[in-house]
């Protein structure tokens, strides 16, 4: 099995990496951020409580995308001056991983994508600029300077050393969606689709008092 359980270097409680691709996990008891290396696990930081938010998604939520099942295994919460959003880390049945973003109940799926084109530095990108990659023409729709608000669950990379990050969102004429993450020196590109809530057939969602359950 790919599941690995280790003891939290901080408090000794069990910390599970359910998926082989997971690099980082958060101890549920002491909230230490635990990064897995080849030999052991080390504590690299701590997260505060993620403030209660109103996303219907939670760790453990399951869904379907193009007949492929997925489960939510991790979450990064971001905040910016006009609100906040979540990036939910997805583990698909075929072993691949992806991201489901929930920005005030607008949902988008995306996957890390490698392209040949060299992307310009963030300072040269303005709203309205167009780029051609991944077989689509993408136009910059927003630039968002955001802060990490918190992290939970399992991550495919380390997040502890990140603070402020710049995101550039792009839209296409074909309903596709892309995000450029400028939190590292080299921008990371994620390409995917904006989706309607119903399409994902989500289960194990949070419940809201006074609202019909989903």
């Amino acid at each position: 099995m790919s599941k690995v359980t280790v003891n939290c270097p901080n408090c000794g409680a069990p910390v599970t990496y359910s998926y082989r691709a997971s690099v980082q996990a958060v101890c549920e008891y002491c909230r230490s951020i635990c990064v897995r290396t080849d030999v052991d696990v080390k504590k690299v930081g701590e997260v505060g409580d993620i403030p209660q938010d109103a996303s219907p998604i939670q760790i453990g939520t399951e869904g379907l995308w193009k007949n492929l099942g997925f489960v939510v295994i991790g979450r990064i919460a971001y905040e910016y001056k006009n609100g906040g959003w979540n990036e939910w880390h997805l583990q698909f049945n075929d072993g691949s991983t992806g991201w489901l973003s929930d920005a005030q109940l607008e949902y988008a799926l995306s996957w890390p994508t490698k392209i040949e084109v060299k992307l310009p530095p963030a300072s040269e990108i303005k709203v309205g600029h167009s780029f051609h990659f991944a077989n689509n023409q993408f136009t910059v729709s927003t630039q968002t300077l955001a802060n990490y608000k918190g992290v939970e669950g399992e991550m495919p990379f380390q997040t502890w050393d990140k603070d402020e990050c710049l995101f550039i969102d792009l839209r296409s004429h074909t309903g596709r969606f892309a995000t450029l993450d400028y939190s590292d020196k080299e921008p990371a590109l994620y390409v995917g689709d904006i989706v309607e809530f119903e399409v994902l057939k989500l289960r194990n969602l949070r419940q809201f008092e006074g609202w019909p359950a989903k």
């Binding site: 403030p51 109103a54 099942g69 609100g83 049945n93 729709s141 004429h173 008092e209």
Partner: protein, 461 residues
């Protein structure tokens, strides 16, 4: 990474969620307005960025536990939403709650035109809007796909999916009144450039600030649908005028009516050509007569018998006279010798001529043609009874009886009748479109067909 996996997890096939979490059930948060102390309920949980006090209309920071005041109400303007905040309804497959309300306006030639926006919320499906202007409602969602500019032309086009939208109006829109909560920053007098493109019943709108442009798609909905969905007790106001994306009740059908009308006209044309070709055009009787009033005791007489052959068809009685500045009236009776069925008709033939200061003139005609339709075959004779003023000039006349002559008049009447409905519908449709476009940036121009010269002429009027 997939290749490295020895055993892929299969959550969809009953695999356990990786980690149990204590179930948390968010509740609507109850707070108090720091300005006036009234109760404030956050209906959209932490999705709310700003909330506007329903009592004093102060704009508050919903992300701040103390609800910091961002902007106080400028004046005690009060608008009561037609659908009260907190109302829920089953709409487009989800239960939605009205959580926010805005009044916005554009200014055109010094006049403000106001419309109202209702923000709907479902904790899973997210947000959508209802907009209302003069009783016209639209269901609006944010577009996920960027539209593509189409033909520039007089009215620029935008394409989205398989629809083409025509530019209707560009205006500066500003916010005039706010209630409830919003997942973005709201302020009175927020300004955007709003562009509307229409493909009734759809409207594609963009709102631009210097930072970003967002697109949304509206669909025209009947107010009764909204009243039923949200179980409103009172009827919503009746729509006034024609709204930009209101479907034309005559528009979609007029093409269909024209096609059907022309099809029947072509059928009628074939019929008339057929009768023209098939007509026998026989002359069955021809004779000269003379009449002087008072010459004989009995003016009437009968002609010898003649045969009307073939099938039931028309008979044409032609009368040529030499009347000049005079008249003659002839009473005809076409009588079947076997059945005594008679076709009676009278003809007045008068012809006058002269000259005056305007030159020479004539009135009437010295010849006449009478058509008797649908006469069955058989032996017939004509009973003829001429009549004139006592003492008038005698008249010489010639009677010719034709059998089965082609006629075309019925075709023109039929064509006219057949094309009347599409013509009527097209006129109604055009009137509706005229009303629609009179509210647009293109008011005054007479639509797509108008050339530059036409619009110059109309502006001179």
């Amino acid at each position: 990474m997939a290749g490295e996996m020895s055993t892929p997890p299969n959550p969809a096939a009953g695999g356990k969620p990786p980690r149990p979490r204590p179930a948390t059930v968010p509740k609507a948060t109850a707070l108090n307005c720091p300005k006036c102390g009234s109760a404030i309920v956050l209906r959209t949980f932490s999705n709310a960025v700003n909330v506007v006090c329903e009592s004093c209309h102060a704009i508050l920071d919903a992300s701040d536990p103390k609800l910091k005041i961002l902007e106080e109400a400028r004046k005690r303007l009060d608008i009561t939403p037609l659908i009260p905040l907190g109302t829920r309804g089953l709409w487009k497959g989800h239960t939605y709650e009205v959580v926010g309300f805005q009044s916005r306006a554009i200014n055109s030639d010094g006049v403000n035109y106001y419309w109202f926006e209702y923000l709907l919320y479902n904790p899973y499906a997210g947000y959508r809007y209802l907009t209302e202007y003069n009783g016209h409602w639209n269901d609006v969602t944010v577009c996920h796909t960027l539209p593509t500019p189409g033909n520039a032309g007089i009215k620029p086009q935008m394409r989205l999916g398989d629809r083409s939208f025509t530019h209707f109006q560009t205006a500066k829109a500003f916010t005039t009144f706010i209630l409830g909560e919003f997942p973005w920053q709201v302020r009175l007098n927020d300004k955007v450039e709003a562009r509307d493109y229409i493909a009734p019943p759809f409207i594609l709108s963009s709102e631009s600030t210097p930072e970003e442009t967002t697109w949304s798609m509206g669909e025209y909905v009947a107010s009764s649908e909204i009243r039923d969905a949200f179980k409103l007790k009172a009827d919503l106001p009746s729509p006034m005028g024609v709204y930009s994306d209101q479907p034309n009740p005559f528009g979609d059908d007029s093409g269909h009516f024209w096609r059907r009308g022309w099809t029947f006209v072509i059928v009628a044309l074939f019929l008339v050509i057929g009768t023209w070709v098939m007509a026998k055009r026989e002359t069955v009787y021809s004779e000269n007569y003379h009449y002087k009033q008072g010459e004989q005791a009995e003016a009437s007489f009968v002609t010898p018998e003649f045969d009307l052959g073939g099938h039931t068809s028309n008979v044409i009685v032609e009368t040529n006279t030499d009347v000049s500045n005079d008249w003659v009236y002839i009473h005809y009776s076409l009588v079947n010798t076997d059945t005594d069925v008679a076709y009676d008709f009278g003809r007045e033939i008068s012809y006058y001529s002269g000259s005056d200061s305007d030159g020479s003139w004539t009135e009437g005609d010295w010849k006449d043609k009478a058509i008797v339709a649908s006469v069955p075959p058989g032996k017939y004779y004509l009973r003829v009874e001429p009549e004139k003023d006592p003492g008038s000039q005698p008249v010489n006349y010639h009677i010719t009886v034709h059998r089965d002559m082609p006629t075309t008049w019925f075709f023109f009447i039929a064509a006219g009748l057949l094309l009347l409905p599409p013509l009527f519908i097209s006129m109604r449709s055009a009137a509706f479109e005229g009303q629609r476009w009179s509210e647009s940036d293109y008011a005054g121009a007479s639509g797509d067909s108008s050339g530059g010269d036409d619009s110059d002429d109309s502006s001179d009027d």
